[in-house]
Symmetry: C2
Subunit: 529 residues, 2 copies
């Protein structure tokens, strides 16, 4: 049994769009009131959007957040039997002595009922790892908040508060936690474990945001644990009002969840930045095919243009596979052979063999960016994490683009996801030949990825250890990988740091993605042993 009739408002806020964010919140309040909900919990900073980054330094933004909260308090008079917990930013009265930052606001939760502000809680434990800069951007709080909701004492916490080791210790019957918790592999289990450990024998209600914000996808799945730590309810992935009914679990299966995360990250980046159309190069290979499938799902096939740009080295199957994926997906298709430009540059420049390969990739980028600029289409760059890790790409060439949908997906996962895309559609969307042929950049005759790189199964295993587990070269060797291969991979990873520093953002999937959560110097001579 749940201690209260409670619901989760999984909103999909846009940073700084106070009117839009508030409209979502109020819509859920109206529905919840009609459904007889007693306690409605929204996500962390649902009023402002999260993360704010250094916009949290903007006093005018924080004041708008306080204003939006006041408006919500006023409007809550229309929902007299509903208690609302919602995240917002508010100006801090004083800073913490331990903190040397420009932070001026708290990351807070307001408890609201029937036109009244019942109380405010300020997040205490401010995460400062991975993508999280809360200690940089917010002032920590230092007070408990316990409110009474129809006789149930509800303790309020925010996100990292429950991950910090200390256990809940207030005199409360239920813990309510407002979260801005982005998807990563296995995060669901980690959240449940953290909540169970923290709640310390009390029931706990965990509310999350939903939707994409830059490289993050908030994956919903708000949940309730009973006093014994069992999951008694779990909401789904999408935004919406999720009324907790005991025994219901709307979580998606793993492959479908990953597919939805990839689609959502891409769709929300376009939607929230006011873009509607996509262009991408179709090489006939699997990476661009998977990106095209994600793009078609995210924006509708009518808004996606695939461009084949064959060169003198392109195989027949590349061109036919490019055309086939476009036809299968129903996206627009265009072919722009690069030979004329290729020949022009060859007559203008003397280039080394490697530079000649890079040249072709850059000519394609010129074409794609020309189309992007002329037709207001966001260019996708289709590199996967294995390539991004070792720098197997041409900067200002195939790495050009405004968004990188699969930059955190290892090549072995690209294969798995591509098969899944066909399986869920119950037909061939991504050509099986693209999935099964040996990967090639086709920048010289007969070229194969495996001429330059370890087998992807091996490469991905090494990347998992060196990057995702922050392991040493010795750790990778101890795990059974050949010493020379590990050292070579480590050297390639280090040499690609400057390229990655100029890479497009893309959806974070793993514990350590190549994005704002991984901050390493470009200038270093550190070599892992």
């Amino acid at each position: 049994m749940l201690p209260l009739r409670l619901a989760f408002g999984q909103t999909n806020p846009i940073v700084g769009d106070f009117a839009g964010n508030l409209a979502q919140i109020i819509e859920h309040c109206e529905k919840a009131e009609r459904a007889g909900v007693e306690l409605l919990i929204f996500g962390e900073l649902a009023v402002c959007g999260y993360p704010l980054g250094d916009l949290s330094y903007r006093k005018d933004l924080v004041e708008l957040s306080e204003l939006a909260l006041s408006e919500l308090v006023t409007k809550s008079a229309a929902f007299p039997s509903l208690t609302i917990l919602v995240g917002f930013a508010r100006l801090a009265e004083e800073r913490s002595a331990l903190q040397s930052s420009k932070a001026l606001a708290h990351n807070s939760a307001a408890a609201i009922r029937a036109g009244q502000l019942l109380g405010v809680y300020d997040k205490r434990l401010l995460p400062n790892y991975d993508v999280f800069d809360d200690w940089r951007n917010f002032v920590p709080g230092d007070r408990d908040l316990v409110i009474d909701v129809v006789g149930t004492r509800v303790a309020v916490r925010i996100c990292e508060d429950i991950w910090g080791g200390d256990k809940e210790s207030t005199e409360a019957d239920l813990v309510a936690v407002l979260n801005g918790s982005p998807f990563t592999f296995n995060k669901t289990a980690q959240r449940i474990e953290a909540a169970r450990t923290f709640a310390s024998g009390k029931p706990i209600a965990y509310a999350n945001l939903s939707g994409g914000q830059d490289e993050l996808v908030f994956d919903g799945e708000s949940f309730v644990l009973d006093a014994a730590g069992n999951v008694t309810y779990r909401a789904g992935f999408d935004s919406g009002l999720w009324i907790a009914e005991a025994g219901q679990d709307y979580a998606l299966l793993a492959d479908e969840k990953l597919f939805q995360v990839l689609v959502r990250g891409l769709r929300d980046y376009l939607a929230k930045t006011g873009q509607g159309k996509i262009v991408l190069g179709l090489s006939g290979g699997i990476d661009s095919a998977l990106c095209a499938a994600l793009a078609a799902e995210a924006m509708g096939p009518q808004n996606v243009l695939g461009v084949s740009m064959p060169s003198r080295y392109s195989s027949d199957h590349s061109v036919t596979d490019a055309e086939l994926v476009a036809r299968n997906l129903g996206i627009d298709y265009r072919s722009v052979p690069i030979e004329k430009a290729h020949a022009a540059f060859e007559s203008m420049l003397e280039l080394s063999p490697l530079a000649k390969e890079n040249l072709q990739a850059r000519l394609r980028a010129v074409i794609l960016m020309g189309i992007s600029n002329s037709e207001s289409r966001l260019l996708l760059t289709t590199g996967n994490k294995s390539e991004v890790a070792v720098g197997y790409s041409t900067i200002y060439g195939d790495s050009a683009g405004g968004f990188a949908p699969i930059k955190d997906l290892l090549k072995t996962d690209v294969w798995r996801m591509s098969r899944y895309v066909n399986q869920r559609a119950n037909r061939e969307l991504i050509p099986v030949s693209s999935i099964e042929k040996p990967p090639s950049a086709e920048l010289r005759p007969g070229q194969l990825d495996q001429d330059s790189l370890p087998d992807y199964e091996i490469l991905d295993g090494i990347i998992r250890i060196l990057i995702e587990q922050n392991g040493t070269v010795s750790d990778a060797i101890a795990a059974g990988f050949e010493s020379a291969t590990v050292l070579r991979t480590d050297a390639m990873i280090r040499a690609a740091e400057w390229k990655r520093s100029q890479g497009a953002i893309g959806t974070k999937l793993s514990e350590v993605s190549f994005g704002t959560g991984r901050r390493v110097p470009l200038t270093t001579r550190f070599e892992s042993k």
Copy 2:
């Protein structure tokens, strides 16, 4: 009078190059011992390099740091009358309860004499603003360290410790502070003020690092304040052993200092990443001319190649000015007209007028990157801060490059610096015609920057308020700028966020540069009022 015979070891470490960093330290120790120095103070993390970024999470790196420190302790037996204070990283025994990070090391200072480790101090106040991620990367300390140096009690602190508001309160006669303090405009005065406020009536010796690390340039200028807060000694900009002699001030004048910072940032980026040669496009304009002058100074003219890439829209003076700057500087010069490639792409693609302009910039990037790849030359991108702010550049075009020497220099400062470059050489290096002609991208006939942008004097004033002072639109209007111009500038700044996220690194000069110290979402609808 100085309380001790003291000296500063201004080393120029490379992150993770323990052997090289230690060699610099030991060389200074030897010299100092010979010169009868009693106390030799090195900079923050001089053993490891600073900042480490997330390499601080690497246990193997921290262990190498401890090992290098042990080696220094052993070798210090050869300098029996010298007390050494040096920065290094060491594994922390436990983490702070307030801290939610992956940090495992302290940012520490060791006091060493005659083969003995006298004590260790761990930095307490961990900055977490601008480029600084110390709270993310290190565990705070909680203990004082006061050592006796020939009868003088010396209290040890590290960098941010003296900026935090609390005053020095140990029973000491002198405060020694180890710093990793990068250059920004007016930083010198800020440091002296912070030291004066902190020392609270005691003399204080402030030691800094020297040299470039990614976007930062540590500008030396270690100094001593007497008990009354007067500067009694100031070291120069360069690395080396600086023995404090009362009354000496080796600080550079402002324009020369800025010039040296720009040169050092560029030189050390190449040197520390193992690169020796440069290529850049010469448009005939002032930005590329200034970058060429900096490059010639940094690496020697024989290692710099300037490439003129005239199009059908290039004016005669552009070509002659490009050639002239190359001749004045004595750098290599090449001309690669883009017409053939331009015509080839026109026959391949239908482009909008704006896309046609961007096309030319991208064709030039293809040429420059071809040369870069073929000849192992680092490509410089020559955009200034005014352009970077409002996105007046073509992504994958003129913004392509591995380093951006003047990305934090406003256009009005580019003019000033260019005049200074000629003045210090006492001849025309940068053609006066490049300095005096109206700026133009020359991507269509008769184009001028001022067709698209406010006058640079106005634009730069607005950027100073909106970016460098984190001001609102209202602040800029209150400062006297026209409302429509401010709003237009603010909108351009916001629209360019995604381009900047893929920009090359470049030397930080201002309080808020476009680099790792400014972290804002790409997806936002926040509009300053």
